[in-house]
């Protein structure tokens, strides 16, 4: 019996963290979010894909690494901790899983192979399945897709888009098809991108099994939620580390502020809230990989609970930094914002908890 990450998983995780420390420090992140470092951002993306991030879950027979979701979860923690300014949850987790569970053999051969060769990258828009905002609506008929999808993730510069209708039918379109209009949204977290996509009678390749089964979209969303929870976990850990470090340096009343119980207790509360989230997220990923019966509920719990804990940590860690925490100079806000967007993506906590109640037939 062993509950935790393996040596391989930790090693890989540390490599991703080191890469981000070297290539993507806060100054770089700042430039990227100001839109002034597109080339550097592409280099970071390429570098991480070279490490294997693009094909973690793709089975070896299609050229991928054939690893499990727990492995990807470990990686996602590092991305959250280091504000990894790259597509991940959508392009490299949800898209391959949807194809693995929903595609026929030909679709798997075609897409998964291209994805592992990095000649194809997919943005994912499932918001209209989870809960459509602003009356967005997708309809798929006779291999044509029309309508509007909001908050399509990892879709900027993606060669393809994966979209779903309300019933969980999933299809893939080429981003450059005629009849597609793409608008960039400006979310508070600019380390990743979110698009609005309008479509009119665009040719779509329906993943064959998804016309009769929701298994593929549910699997894909469960995994996406676990990965986003892991991202917030990493981001929250970064915030606690920063707050503790700052509290040991900053002096007021001739004492470091970290010696005041008011400050110590805030840090202890953050640690006590976050620590069980490691176990929860890893356990959820382990269930995803090994016990499908428990996996849907565990994914809901992981995403909704980590979202709540991270929100509180975003607030408290900022407060420990005092006025400096509120400034762009200190940069605490980058993690605050990353957590804020993770929280709403693929279902806000209340939406997910209602889903968790239904999964249990309440």
């Amino acid at each position: 019996m062993y509950f935790g990450l393996s040596e391989d998983q930790k090693f890989f995780q540390e490599n991703v963290s080191k890469f981000l420390e070297d290539q993507s420090n806060l100054d770089v992140i700042r430039k990227i979010t100001e839109g002034e470092a597109n080339e550097i951002q592409q280099e970071i993306h390429d570098g991480l894909v070279n490490l294997g991030l693009g094909s973690l879950l793709i089975p070896e027979q299609y050229g991928g690494l054939g690893l499990d979701l727990l492995f990807a979860t470990a990686v996602s923690q590092s991305l959250g901790e280091g504000l990894g300014p790259i597509p991940f949850a959508g392009s490299y987790i949800m898209a391959p899983l949807a194809i693995m569970h929903g595609g026929n053999q030909e679709q798997k051969n075609n897409y998964l192979t291209k994805m592992s060769e990095n000649s194809m990258r997919i943005g994912v828009g499932f918001s209209e399945y989870i809960g459509a905002r602003d009356n967005a609506n997708i309809s798929i008929n006779d291999n044509k897709i029309s309508g509007r999808a909001l908050f399509v993730i990892d879709a900027k510069d993606a060669s393809h888009l994966m979209l779903s209708d309300k019933n969980g039918m999933i299809g893939i379109v080429e981003s450059s098809s005629s009849g597609i209009e793409i608008t960039e949204l400006v979310a508070v977290d600019k380390t990743r991108n979110f698009l609005e996509v309008q479509l009119k009678d665009v040719d779509i390749d329906i993943l064959e099994l998804t016309s009769t089964s929701k298994e593929a979209i549910d699997k894909s969303i469960d995994a996406g939620r676990i990965i986003l929870a892991a991202d917030s976990l990493g981001a929250s850990q970064a915030l606690i580390d920063k707050a503790v470090e700052y509290s040991k340096e900053r002096k007021q009343f001739n004492r470091v502020i970290g010696s005041f119980q008011a400050v110590k207790h805030m840090c202890a509360e953050m640690a006590a809230d976050l620590e069980p989230c490691y176990a929860l997220v890893w356990h959820a990923a382990h269930c995803f990989d090994n016990s499908p019966d428990e996996s849907r509920l565990m994914a809901c719990h992981a995403k909704s609970h980590v979202s709540e804990v991270s929100k509180t940590i975003g607030k408290k860690a900022t407060e420990v930094h005092g006025g400096m925490g509120f400034t762009d100079l200190m940069g605490v806000h980058y993690w605050f914002k990353r957590i804020g967007v993770n929280r709403q993506t693929l279902g806000a906590p209340e939406v997910i908890r209602e889903e968790a109640a239904r999964i249990q037939n309440f």
Binding site: M1, Y2, F3, G4, L5, S6, L70, I240, V244, S247, K248, R255, V256, G258, S259, F260, Q261, V263, K264, H265, C267, A268, E269, A271, A272, E275, P276, C277, Y278, A279, L280, W282, H283, H286, M298, C300, H301, S304, H305, E308, P349, E350, R353, E354, A356, A357, F362
Partner: protein
Amino acid sequence: MDLNYGSQYEDFKIEVQDFCKEWHGINFSDAAKTPMSQNFESNGKTIKRSEWQSILIEKGYTARSVPKEYGGYGGESDIIKNRIIATEFSNAKIPSAMGGQGIDMLVPTLLELGTEEQKKQYIKPTLRGEMIWCQGYSEPNAGSDLASLQTKGELIDGNWVINGQKIWTSTAQFSQMMFCLVRTEPDAQKHAGISYILIPMDTPGLEIRPLVDMTLKPGFNEVFFTDVTVPESNIIGKRGEGWAVANATLGHERGALTDPNATMNRVNSLINRMKKETIDGKRLIDIPVYRDKLIAIQAKVTAFQSNSLRVLSSKINKGQDTKIAGMIQKLVGTELRHELEGFAVDIMGELGTLYEDSPNLRDGGSWQFLYMYYLGLIIGGGTSQIQKNIISERGLGMPREPKVQGN
């Protein structure tokens, strides 16, 4: 990640399951009079608490690693087997082994630090439930700052003569013995002046007064000492070493206070209650606000359960670092349980406030009782605030409060 206990434990699991089937539905003819004692469904099989304890020791389901010569099972300590026993007993709803301060705290301390004579004299009757112990640590002026305790012990003609007062003494009224912290070296520095002394509760000069807590159920006591005289040999460790001896046992207590599986059982009872209970004819489980809070709590408890698996894993796999995961258990476990019990009171509204033997009482009034009881546990055994000091100082490496002069 590997959550299987391994094939070598499969046989053991089946053995425990068979045992549980054999004893399903037993009840005690002399149920312990503690506030946490549970009523088990009876199938008519009745047994004395101490007989049950003896059976469990014989099977190795409790006192597993205590040597045979001291009345234990004499096996290897095995965390996974302990876990299997706890899980199967809980699933089968048969009573677990006796616990309490004697078995959970004193026995490990004696095994570690007691003399051969002390081990022979005390461990066996304690394990068998024939000798109940209470803990004499806290005093009116020594709570979170326990080491400032003032109950005095003087060595006169080969006896300790003890004067002073202890408080928060659970089960003193049922106990035969107390393990007690006493200041024996008044000139030594605070922590170095304390000794750990064993006191029979029927010693002349020892008086027990019940201390009624907010639950109004029998629980705590105050214990007064007026020239209470016990032999010099009733000390564990040397003079002035009592603080170290006590710290060996406090570690055992903090782990024991919060069982995540018991908390999950309460979540499931709450779900059942919400399916039955109605407001304006509508089931509580169907009301969105209640559903939302229920699932939020269920998620927290799930996280706490997973955390405890991780802590368990670190005990089996040497070198696995889960320092903070272990340190937060008392704080998180008690706060979470209090929140859960309080939420159950809320969803029942006025019905949730019914108590004792009121008409229309739900689940024996257990929600309101445990809501209050867990407030006591949040404070006892190191308050939440003390826990936060420990987490921030030992877990996060933050500086201690500057000392006030004279302390």
